[in-house]
């Protein structure tokens, strides 16, 4: 019997013929030396925090950027000098509350987000279920690839695709023309924005739902079926309640992503169907009123985090959490 691995010190690095391995081991020895110098007795309870440090710092950049926005939102633009005011005031929030254009903006964005969420979930449920349950490998692969291809192509490129499909010279109107039907104008309308958003959100919804379906043992569905329940009843009373955590996660993700979307309304809305994000951008870059833009930004951030927070408090982190329990 070879006493391999039982000798605690002096690893037999020299005996190994491959030079790369020796170099690798030496490198590791060097790193170990640095570690031993820095933390001779181990970092103890600090170790997890040292591991977390880079991620905490990167995320802190976001916090460091947002805190000044709070300050800016409390300063009114002085129209005479075009500089932010000296004193803190709630004037910017008052402006947002008072002007009907911002009420409409909020209503349009919320309404569209609600419609997009419902449509995306309705379209995603059968997709996720079939993708998880199908016994046919080719079908599973087709569904996975069809999902990931758009997921890996950005919003601008996908919006361009819709412009080509829906534009005046586009595919949709060409097909309608061949059929002898009058052309439709979906592009640059709110339904057009919703259409583009549903297609963009569908992969997100399916990816949040799929793990929830995987967690439901197929035997439960089979048992329900063998006890005489129709597929519809099984789906309604067995599957849906069990995948509720996934549904909640998908709804939160789709709703907040839509609520804060910029590119789809900007490209497919043609400037007449702006969402809150577009108004924030315009406040900063067209109106040059950073105070107003910051106020709107703070409100949108609060809306997004509050909705997500309430849902998470009610239903737990679900599939959103990093840490698994149980």
């Amino acid at each position: 019997m070879k006493p391999r691995g039982t000798v605690p010190s002096a690893p037999p690095a020299e005996e190994q013929s491959a030079p790369a391995r020796t170099l690798g081991l030496r490198l590791l020895d060097g790193l170990e030396g640095v570690r031993a110098t820095l933390f001779p007795r181990g970092a103890g309870g600090l170790t997890p925090w040292l591991f977390l440090l880079p991620a905490l710092l990167l995320t802190f950049l976001l916090v460091a950027g947002i805190v000044p926005l709070l300050d800016t939102s409390l300063r009114q633009l002085d129209r005479a000098t075009f500089r932010p005011g000296e004193d803190w005031t709630l004037a910017n929030f008052h402006t947002l509350w008072e002007r009907p254009v911002y009420t409409w903006l909020a209503a349009r964005t919320m309404g569209a987000a609600l419609v997009v969420t419902v449509l995306s979930l309705l379209l995603a449920l059968p997709y996720a279920w079939l993708m998880v349950r199908t016994p046919r490998p080719w079908l599973k692969k087709l569904l996975l690839v069809s999902l990931f291809l758009p997921f890996f192509i950005g919003q601008v490129v996908r919006a361009y695709g819709w412009l080509v499909v829906l534009g005046n010279q586009g595919l949709a109107n060409a097909v309608l023309g061949w059929l002898g039907l009058p052309p439709v104008t979906i592009l640059y309308t709110l339904p057009g924005v919703v259409l583009g958003l549903v297609q963009y959100m569908l992969p997100f919804a399916v990816l949040m739902l799929a793990p929830a379906f995987t967690a439901v043992p197929e035997e439960i569905e089979l048992a329900s079926g063998s006890l005489g329940a129709s597929p519809a009843r099984t789906f309604r009373h067995i599957v849906l309640p069990l995948v509720r955590p996934g549904l909640v996660a998908a709804a939160v993700v789709v709703f907040t992503l839509t609520l804060t979307d910029f590119a789809m309304p900007a490209i497919m809305g043609g400037g007449r169907n702006d969402f809150i994000a577009n108004a924030i951008y315009d406040a900063f870059f067209s109106l040059s009123d950073p105070g107003l833009g910051s106020a709107l930004a703070i409100l949108l951030t609060l809306a997004g985090t509050t909705i997500a927070g309430i849902m998470l408090a009610l239903f737990g982190l679900g599939t959103l959490g990093y840490v698994r329990r149980g």
């Binding site: 691995g5 605690p8 690893p11 590791l28 790193l31 170990e32 570690r35 997890p48 925090w49 977390l52 880079p54 991620a55 995320t59 950049l61 976001l62 950027g65 926005l69 059968p126 997709y127 993708m131 996975l144 069809s146 999902l147 990931f148 758009p150 890996f152 192509i153 950005g154 601008v156 490129v157 996908r158 361009y160 695709g161 819709w162 499909v165 010279q169 060409a174 569908l202 799929a210 793990p211 967690a215 569905e221 079926g225 597929p231 519809a232 907040t256 804060t260 910029f262 590119a263 490209i267 994000a277 924030i280 951008y281 930004a297 949108l300 997004g304 927070g309 990093y322 698994r324 149980g326």
Partner: protein
């Protein structure tokens, strides 16, 4: 499940989904091969002229190069930060786990437009604007949760006894980490790195605020071009993005299998 009107309905919805997801992409591929000057149906004939246009217009190639640069910076930062964070979260009992997770989920709960403006103002104060690498840093910040998820998923497959065995055999902590822990979570790191790279190459809104006219990235270039007239050269750009996505999916499937993303996180 047996056949019934209900399963037929589900099947029809999935068929609709497949067409709905694919149509804009397929149409763009068809248009990119047109020989005409306009986007029109049916296309005027087959040619590669719009791909030729891409190669002769230096601004496209430069923008593509900058986007790839953004992707590399983002991935290089995300791999260590995300891997270490995921290991810490999944392995150790840390105080305030919920608060910590909510903090690390901030990049997702803060709207992208707000993140973009916040980072623009921050980087501006630090004198970092006008360069490409801060865009990669920003892309890493806003997408970091994806990296942590990907690695956390594969920490599941790591048996702590393996590390204990290595230590028992005399391996110092650093050796154990690099020769046992890291190889075990490598599939998650690869998945996360690919996703981060793709997201950064496609990153639009935050780039829009961090770049100026001299250093536009490819999605910003496409966005600016869309606002004028829709020409087939952008279809060729879109096909470049499609190719990048196809390569990424192929790699992901070869390296870890696409099915990894269907796995339950609660097992």
């Amino acid at each position: 499940m047996q056949r019934s009107p209900f399963t037929l309905l589900l099947g029809l919805v999935v068929a609709f989904d497949l067409v709905f997801l694919a149509v804009p992409t397929l149409v763009v591929v068809v248009i990119s091969f047109t020989s005409g000057n306009m986007v029109a149906f049916p296309p005027e004939g087959f040619s590669l002229r719009w791909y030729g246009v891409l190669l002769t217009r230096p601004e496209f190639l430069a923008a593509l190069g900058r986007s790839l640069q953004v992707g590399l910076v983002c991935t290089a930062l995300a791999i260590p930060a995300g891997t270490l964070a995921a290991l810490a979260l999944a392995r150790w009992r840390i105080r305030y786990p919920t608060g910590l997770q909510l903090y690390l989920l901030l990049p997702f709960t803060v709207p992208l437009v707000v993140s973009g403006i916040a980072l623009m103002l921050l980087f501006g104060r630090m004198g970092m604007l006008g360069q490409v690498w801060p865009v990669g840093l920003a892309a890493c910040v806003i997408n970091l949760p994806f990296m942590i998820w990907a690695v956390a998923a594969s920490v599941n497959h790591l048996d702590p006894d393996l590390e204990n065995a290595a230590m028992n055999c005399g391996a110092p902590p650093t050796h154990t980490f690099f020769t046992v822990t890291l190889p075990a979570v490598a599939p998650g790191i690869l998945t996360g790195a690919l996703v981060m790279f793709i997201l950064a190459v496609n990153e639009f809104l935050v780039s829009l605020m961090l770049v100026d006219a001299r250093i536009v990235t490819l999605p910003v270039l496409v966005y600016n071009a869309i606002r004028n007239i829709i020409t087939p050269d952008l279809a060729a750009v879109s096909v470049v993005y499609l190719l990048i996505a196809v390569i990424a999916i192929w790699l992901l499937d070869r390296l870890v299998g696409l099915g990894i993303l269907l796995e339950s996180k609660r097992s």
